[in-house]
Amino acid sequence: MSTIAMPKPDARILAEAPQIIAALRDALPAGTVISDPEETRAYECDALTAYRCPPIAVVLPRTTEEVATAMRICQRFSVPVVPRGAGTSLAGGALPTADSVVIATIRLREILEIDTTNRFIRVQTGVTNLSVSAELEAEGFFYAPDPSSQLACTIAGNIAMNSGGAHCLKYGVTTNNLMGVRCVLTDGEIVEVGGPFMDSGGLDILGLLCGSEGQLAIVTEATLRIVPKPEDARPMLIGFDSAETAGECVARIIRSGLIPVAIEYMDDVCLRAIEAFAKTDYPKCAAVLIVEVEGSQGEIAHQIERIREIADELSPVEFRSSRNKDESLAIWKGRKSAFGAMGRLGDYLCLDGTVPVSKLPYTLKRIGELSKHYGLEVANVFHAGDGNMHPLILFNANAPGELERAEAYGADILRLCVDVGGCLTGEHGVGIEKRDLMSKQYSAEDMAIQMDIKDVFDPDWLLNPAKVFPLDVSQPYRDRASRS
């Protein structure tokens, strides 16, 4: 079906599947283990549907201790474990293998503690990103990282992928907002790292865990930094007649030292899709930026003025700043419906490369040229402030060969990102999608160091198999693990 290879399932594990399932069922409460092939199928993929494979079983624990029990059993049988949050990964981070057990955190949904004086919230990691902020709303606080899937994605997945979002330009990504975790290691040991304080002594183990893509442990509880909501926030809409000029505007805003909450970029393909779907009054031009600033009224007015001056130097087609809530909603409406609108055009691959902001104009130009080369349309809608690009490659999944072409195009875009000094992923993670491109970014030594670290946490190489590291690169490690 697609171009990224998965290892051959372990025949020994497949043969032992009935015993593995029985052991899990015996040790866990009724209704926790799913193993009917009709039912495991719904867990065969996440939001990257090009790759699919049902696992042996799916475990849905309700407590950290149940996660530990499941992990211990899996270790006893040497079964790979695929951690799963809400299954919204666009990189295939939760893709099972045929010889694996999925352990999902979605039933771990308790809010454990809210402390606004010391500015933290402690939650079980199956809560959704948005529900954390919803819990805090009455207190006038929020949790800053806000991936586009924040309605559905869980904190567990956010930590695994070090998720970002529109607000991250100002507040940082997950790792900058994570204070502590409780997690389960492959042998079932439950450990706590960090806590409700700024920094702990010793090595930054928490920094290692955040963004480790389920390679090191399953995080079941998290202490998150919370921030007071600003007095107000206001967006501006700036239209340009070329993609490069819009990219230049982003670079100049960042260079000026201003820190808007968000700078969002949409190109003409995206604008046309939005126009057809959301009936916005966006200008018809090559690219639109939405820049949002926040603070007190005075701060907002000042920032808007500065950004207007910067934009004016580049002769925008239109500059509009919101005067009230309705106008703010109208400006954001199209951006918020962008992905849905794109979905109506057909299937798409959503990429996630990051480039230095100064390289945005060049990168956008090259993406356009590659689009012609591959004969596939691309739409650009992304968080421009931190150079985190999300080119959406449009294709027809039902047309033979188109997915492969789209993937080849996507790989070229990601190589381009690395070539201009950026990296493969901004917030979606490597998962399965970008696994084989890791060699483009990292040398063999670089990857060896990363795999040595995995060895410490997961000496049997059971966690989230066949992800992140190219198979040929990880082969010696996996061979050694299976011999011991």
């Binding site: 799913i34 009709e38 039912e39 719904a42 809400a86 199956g126 899937s149 992905f339 849905g340 979905g343």
Partner: protein
């Protein structure tokens, strides 16, 4: 998502439609976040995305539905919260309707479940039979603890203690507008609703008349077909719907209609979909005409504008958004704005997008999940400390009413009261 239907499969119009829907789904998972059953059960299989997957597999492979698939499809409330959430416009309603119909045709349920479904489909849509059944239920209620089946117990629990007398207003006739006539509208008097509660239609007729509408109860109007439609019994639902379409078209072609008014939003969602239900039927164009004129009472009143709201006492009214209104018909602000215009203090409970668990016959078929949803809903409604709870759907009113002492009335009863009608009988005892 990629699909693998063959050209031969796609000749079937229902499959073709389902293929379109499946192709528009990008499997992003946003729908899981607002699905009530996923919130309770925490299993992807009890979420829209999981069900879409099960349906896809069942339809693509022409499978005889397996027990697991049927269980998870049956657990869907059809609240359509997922459709409000979906960024890609996936028409889940048509997909789940197709799946229910497919299951009904290709899966043999256990004898007791078959009997129960048959019974419900033969009783609820027929006011005469339903009245009789409710009277029987009143007699059986004292013995309900002896009944082993939770669903039958739930039915007895839900049956009201008192059944109103038949209202003459529900018979075919025409009510003249008060003052100059602005509109001529037909009222769907419903089936189960008018057996359980006659105040709603009475208040609707008074309210419309007072606002310059001639109100017609057409000859031959009956159940809209929604109840059986949601059980996958397409033969029954289509025949009920066809009878309605004929009755309404006779009025349309006779003295004409400006709108077809519906005050039970569950029915409204189905009537508005008649065009789709009959798209490959000789009745197609008539069905589309009826669907295009179908309006919820709150839409009609919003258009007319509330006159002379004289209500002085700004009672605290918690507005319960029925899923068929907020998700099925995407009507969110009209009922609240009307209540505010009528002088009430309108309060919105938290999690208003989550279903109360009534969902047609769901509270009878899935009592466990339904009662958890009821508890959740009632606690959120009570938290805003209202004098009255207002809703636009009889199913929700019965469900919520069975869990709280706060009076539950239909939004039209409050609007009628505020514009000169009598105080809603349900409030007489408490306020």
């Amino acid at each position: 998502m990629q699909t693998t239907f063959t050209d031969a499969q796609l000749l079937d119009p229902d499959t073709r439609r389902s293929n379109e829907i499946l192709r528009s789904c990008v499997h992003c998972g946003f729908c899981t976040a607002t699905c009530p059953t996923y919130q309770i059960l925490g299993d992807e299989l009890d979420s829209p995305r999981g069900r879409i997957y099960l349906i896809k597999d069942m339809l693509e492979n022409n499978k005889v539905p397996d027990k697991a698939t049927v269980k998870h499809i049956d657990r869907c409330l059809s609240c359509l919260s997922c459709m409000t959430t979906c960024p890609s416009g996936v028409h889940y309603m048509h997909l789940i309707d197709h799946a229910r119909q497919y299951i009904e045709q290709n899966y043999k349920r256990r004898w007791d479940e078959r009997a129960l479904r048959w019974l419900l489909s033969r009783i609820l849509p027929y006011p005469g039979r339903f009245r009789l059944a409710l009277k029987g239920a009143a007699l059986a209620r004292p013995f309900r603890k002896l009944i082993p089946d939770a669903r039958l117990r739930a039915m007895l629990e839900m049956a009201p203690r008192k059944i109103p007398d038949i209202s003459k207003n529900d018979l075919p006739q025409s009510f003249a507008a008060e003052g100059p006539r602005a509109k001529r509208v037909a009222l769907l008097t419903g089936c189960a609703q008018r057996t359980l509660n006659t105040d709603i239609n009475d208040a609707t007729i008074r309210l419309l008349k007072r606002h310059g509408c001639e109100v017609v109860i057409p000859q031959g109007i009956g159940c809209c077909g929604a109840l059986t439609h949601h059980m996958g019994k397409s033969r029954e639902s289509h025949s009920a719907a066809a009878a309605n379409i004929r009755a309404l078209v006779a009025e349309l072609d006779g003295r004409g209609l400006d709108a077809i008014v519906i005050n039970t939003s569950g029915c409204g969602t189905t009537v508005k979909d008649y065009g789709h239900m009959f798209r490959n039927d000789p009745l197609a164009s008539d069905a589309a005409r009826v669907a295009s004129l179908a309006k919820d009472i709150s839409e009609v009143m919003e258009e007319i504008g509330l006159k002379d709201a004289s209500h002085a006492d700004p009672l605290r009214v918690a507005y319960h958004a029925a899923c068929s209104l907020q998700h099925g018909q995407q009507i969110r602000s009209a009922p609240k704005e009307l209540l505010k215009a009528a002088g009430f203090q309108v309060l919105e409970p938290r999690d208003s997008h989550i279903c109360c668990g009534s969902a047609g016959t769901y509270n009878l078929m899935q009592p466990e999940i339904s009662s958890q949803l009821k508890e959740h809903k009632v606690s959120k409604l009570e938290a805003v400390q209202p004098h009255i709870i207002s809703a636009g759907n009889i199913g929700c009113m019965m469900q919520i009413g069975s869990g709280t002492d706060i009076p539950v009335v239909h939004t039209v009863e409050l609007l009628d009261w505020a514009t000169g009608g009598p105080k809603p009988p349900a409030l007489a005892a408490t306020l």
